[in-house]
Point group: C2
Chain length 222, copies 2
């Protein structure tokens, strides 16, 4: 029954050779399996949290937005926290206190850097699109220099990260296991519904392998 | 075709009589339709973002955790940002730059307060459980004074909040609508899978109306 044992653990990784051998792979996996993150920063001492999409290239996590974005102008060279969370299930116990959540989360602490080079910016945006929609980038109307200028791409390194995970059934007090209330896990999933074509799409234009690739990624639990 | 028009708007609400008449209802709705939020705070100037569950009682948003939690000890009386986000869909455009996300999000800025009174703490935890699992609280093994002590409940008022929403198809450059690439929206949903009973559940104990209530709430898009 060991696969049913509740498992809750915090993995704190500072990039030392000692831990780097195994923990960073878990952290990269949690990051790559999510589309969205929440970026924390401060404006005049007031914490702010903005949801956005992210991607990873090697040992860096990236996000982007309009160059006019207050968030992106604020975080440049500033301390940020990029949190990626997967809410995997609700855990219902016999007592209120032992109710819990099964989840995987990664917290990346660092300084936000801006990609200045236009070619590198375009390369990163391609990685971003391609990781979700394989083959899509080259089928798009090519980006103009002005569009690239209007887009800000930020990154921070994965050098200071921590991961937390909980899996499994409730962990009740020993004497409570016979208490007559239903207990267990309700798994939660993020799923994609049927794509809805743009009302102005030319007739006969069907979704291609890029969209199919995304839907397959979602089915695998992306 | 007006219902297909892309819609992107920011509603900033300061609790003035003028705006309070309509915007707070939208903000309360976005908060109530989500289970999870991300709490932003700072430790020695380093922004931190922690995912957690939340609930609302009147004009306050609540979250909770172990009294040993570093986050909860840190945020007491400190500035926080509680962000609730619904990622409703990916928007695929004809150019990279016009790709977007359909979403609803609320940012609550405020100071975190701790519920000190034990009776009020228990009342809030009951609201939390009951809003997702109607009828469950009274079927649980009752909370002990020690358990309540070991649980911290925090709140912040909804007096300074902003909401953002985007819905609808891509908004491409006018000359791009005939570009031969699929464009549209891929709706995203959070769904619940089949509940998985605790391996130590006594035989014959079935999930009740509380779990059914939660599954129905999820199906309505919770």
């Amino acid at each position: 029954m060991s696969e049913h044992r509740p498992f809750s653990e915090r993995v704190r990784v500072r990039r030392t050779p000692h831990k780097a051998r195994y923990d960073p792979a878990v952290i990269r996996k949690f990051i790559d399996e999510a589309m969205f993150c929440h970026v924390g920063y401060a404006i005049d001492g007031q914490p702010m949290v903005t949801p956005t999409m992210h991607w990873r290239d090697g040992e860096k996590i990236y996000w982007h937005g309009s160059s006019a974005s207050k968030m992106l102008r604020t975080v440049k060279d500033a301390a940020v926290c990029v949190t990626v969370s997967h809410m995997d299930g609700l855990v219902l116990a016999r007592s209120g206190m032992h109710h819990s959540v099964n989840y995987r989360s990664v917290m990346v602490l660092g300084r936000a850097n801006k990609v200045d080079d236009a070619a590198e910016k375009e390369r990163q945006l391609k990685i971003f699109v391609e990781r979700l929609f394989p083959g899509r980038w080259d089928s798009l109307r090519p980006a103009t220099a002005q569009e690239l200028k209007a887009t800000t791409v930020m990154w921070t390194t994965l050098s200071e990260t921590s991961a937390k995970i909980r899996t499994g059934p409730p962990a009740d007090d020993e004497e409570d296991y016979t208490f007559p209330v239903w207990a267990g896990e309700i798994p939660l999933r993020r799923t994609a519904a049927e794509p809805s074509p743009c009302p102005r799409l030319p007739q006969g234009l069907e979704a291609g392998a890029d969209v199919a690739g995304f839907l397959a990624w979602m089915k695998r639990g992306g």
